[in-house]
Symmetry: C2
Subunit: 480 residues, 2 copies
């Protein structure tokens, strides 16, 4: 019988309990986001402040995480969002879900609030809370490394699953994310990192030796089906392109069809050339490491490094995990096409623990408010130095950064121009202009968490014609 | 009878007491640094860790502070240094000493450690400790503004005296300073900010209406002497030059005589052209505000602003108070002559609350250790982007920044090359190469606090010939 094993961690009482979700419920909700949503609805008290200890964090793997080969090594984080005030979910690739399941649990529920900063360690079913006062304040890269080393691992993120927040989560920035191993994976959206910060939970390490395949009912058949899928996917052009250029191959494509939002969605198409922030250009000009999520042969992660100039990063962990959404939000959407500044901004989002999409949305909102004479700040579109300075100020809620840390929507409201906000349910939109992709517009505005590019990814139809082409401008039933 | 009124603040017990130093002692030690040294020697227990609550901070004005017109608006901070382990003092201009005296006290002694972050407010002899948890973490500019506004002042630093620490002081960076009003004045050296941070004291506001002139025994004569001095000084060329170019007029002069240290004192003279970081160049290329300390007609403070490019700062407080020592340490000493990067680094030192001299010394040490293959870091001389990134990492003790936050000497020792350290008593040297100014070499190595350019400023003799010229290369008694 398939079950879903949960570790419930009450930080207020430093208490652990185990729960097993049985097959009847699992058949309805599978695991991951589905099961988390079901439990969150039942368990999180209505009307609470998302940053109150009574909020809960559901960190759930999916039923195929760690066993299926392609695109299944993802972990879902569900909670009540400090950004939108309602249900949200965020998910990350990497290896966390694999190591979470290996540790003996398929999901974690984090409740309450610690007295002092702590982190959670689970090794083979043995959970432990450890003091994290000495890690509190560290950025995500260093925090991950410290947690690994303190628990007997080399500073190699493939050896265990680690989830941490950075200063942004600690400082309750409403769009702080959770960085996941291995290497700058993010459960980014909705402020899940701020919820973790509000609980004084700095990080989670998961590791174990559980045999995941043992639990597969018909292992031989599973392997056969899995291999068939892998074979079909491996030879597909999309796979090859993703491996070569990552998700940011979309930059030129979306720009070409006029769907790439520029200048806070106010000037889509206004930037004539976004080539320098396309992955084709970046891979041509910067040394780039390619990396994959656990057990995934696509290996679409592009990690470029800038080796000189004003946006060079001096650190031993100098690579930046970079994605299309992040490149867009911290690029064209803030009027910036300098690839080095763009990569640096992505690095800062990752290191300080900010959702790169909402970070770009918020910076774009700030610039537009300045342009409208509402916000007194010396910053312009593409103003790399000034924008970079603001990123730090947001993460530390310093000065005007305290306003920006509230996110794009609240910023727009505070400065009297809510009409500048492009989003749904209070969450800013990602990298596709809904006016150019009517199907995606529908997806945006019906998405449970708001501002979502993942719940119903219509660009496959509207842009790539997979499985079939749909006219992106059509608004009637006939097109479908 | 002249007395020196002290407020003793015990943060552990939240207890205030007043003490009056009588004329007999004052005649020996005057006030300020002298009196503070006397009391520190008597009161601070031997052998303590400088970051232990048993350390004390003496924040003392001088006997002429707030009344004499020229160069007297300075405040001295004395403590046991977390950088050198021994007695240290640091001093700042601005208006803090004026408002301190106006508040009813000539000096403050801060003892113990608060349970939670607090700040101290003194208005007309009424001291009060206020919670500072909401300010903890903010940078120095925003902290100053918040403290002013919370206490009924406009965000105008001339209206009250404010001293604050930034993240560096909070994070016990061994060379954190204390920022003083008005506008980025610093009691910089020796880690006095870390001592304040160790006590969980975020800031101090002083204000009052005490009539300082009432206490002058022969006011008419004092005014006459004072005016005579002002008249003589006002017409002096040095005064005019200082007003026009600030202390950084020294850049070209010291470079011209081959006494400007480059590359961590390892390559003095190697940079052929430091013009772009000279004040003549900066004032020619960047809008610069000129400002003076309280009641001082020299007004030597230069505050340039960089209005575009990768090192532009986006903030409402965009001006950077800039001095020769800071420009040098974050310029030629780290092999950097880009004025915009240089100004940005000074701004970061001021905002994050770091001693700009030791910050430059430490960055220079890091680069030299890299050059010697001892430290694995991707950073080079003049490598503006990488160096800037390190400044943040130092203030937050993140990753390798945790090592750098220990200061140049400890860094050199840790990585096995203490011989690269140029300093005395464990404090790095300021902006004059002692090999080119033998008198100053003597001053450096006999200075009580170590690495000192203030206790015996021989460049007046050795460079300017004031009051008379001394051969800077002479090492025998005959030259004097």
């Amino acid at each position: 019988m398939t079950v879903f094993r949960i570790l419930r961690v009450d930080l207020s009482r430093e208490h652990f309990s185990e729960e097993v979700i049985k097959e009847d419920l699992l058949k309805k909700f599978l695991g991951g986001r589905g099961l988390a949503a079901y439990l969150a609805l039942k368990e999180i008290p209505r009307g609470i402040d998302p940053l109150d200890p009574s909020n809960k964090l559901y960190i759930f793997s999916g039923p195929l995480s760690g066993i299926a080969t392609i695109s299944s090594s993802r972990v879902n984080v569900t909670t009540r969002s400090p950004l939108t005030g309602v249900y949200t979910h965020a998910n990350a690739g990497g290896n966390f879900s694999y190591w979470l399941r290996k540790s003996g649990y398929d999901g974690l529920i984090i409740e309450g609030k610690a007295d002092e900063p702590v982190y959670l360690v689970i090794k083979d079913g043995e959970p432990k809370l450890k003091p994290a006062k000495h890690i509190w304040g560290k950025w995500t890269g260093a925090s991950t490394k410290m947690i690994l080393e303190e628990n007997g691992f080399p500073p190699d993120e493939t050896k265990a699953g680690v989830a941490v927040i950075g200063p942004a989560g600690e400082n309750l920035v409403r769009f702080a994310g959770i960085r996941m191993s291995d290497y700058e994976r993010f459960a980014g959206r909705g402020g899940v990192g701020a919820v973790m910060g509000s609980k004084l939970l700095k990080g989670i390490l998961v590791w174990g030796t559980r045999d995941l395949y043992k639990e597969v009912v018909d292992r031989a058949r599973f392997m056969k089906v899995n291999n068939d899928i892998v074979k079909r996917i491996a030879v597909h052009d999309t796979t090859k392109t993703l491996h070569k250029y990552g998700t940011n191959v979309l930059m030129n494509i979306v720009q070409a069809i006029g769907a790439l939002p520029h200048y806070n969605f106010g000037g889509t198409g206004k930037l004539k050339d976004v080539t320098p922030v396309s992955e084709e250009y970046i891979k041509d000009h910067y040394p780039t490491e390619v990396h994959g999520c656990y057990n995934c042969p696509i290996a679409c992660t592009q990690m470029p490094v800038v080796k000189s100039g004003p946006f060079k990063i001096s650190t031993t962990e100098k690579y930046v995990k970079q994605e299309y959404e992040s490149t867009w939000s911290l690029g064209p959407n803030i009027g910036l096409t300098d690839p080095e500044a763009n990569i640096k901004l992505q690095k800062l989002a990752n290191e300080l623990g900010l959702d790169s999409i909402s970070l770009g949305n918020t910076l774009a909102m700030a610039v537009e408010l300045v342009k409208n004479g509402k916000l007194n700040l010396d910053v312009d579109w593409g103003d790399a130095g000034a924008l970079e300075y603001l990123v730090y100020k947001i993460a530390y809620r310093d000065g005007v950064g305290d306003d920006l840390a509230e996110g794009d929507y609240r910023l727009a409201v505070k400065y009297g121009m809510p009409q500048l906000f492009s989003g749904s349910r209070g969450q800013g939109l990602p990298a596709y202009d809904p006016r150019a992709l009517k199907g995606f517009a529908l997806a945006y505005y019906t998405a449970n968490r708001g501002g979502d590019h993942l719940e119903a990814y219509t660009p496959t139809w509207e842009i790539f014609g997979v499985p079939e082409k749909v006219d992106p401008f059509c608004e009637t039933q006939e097109c479908i």
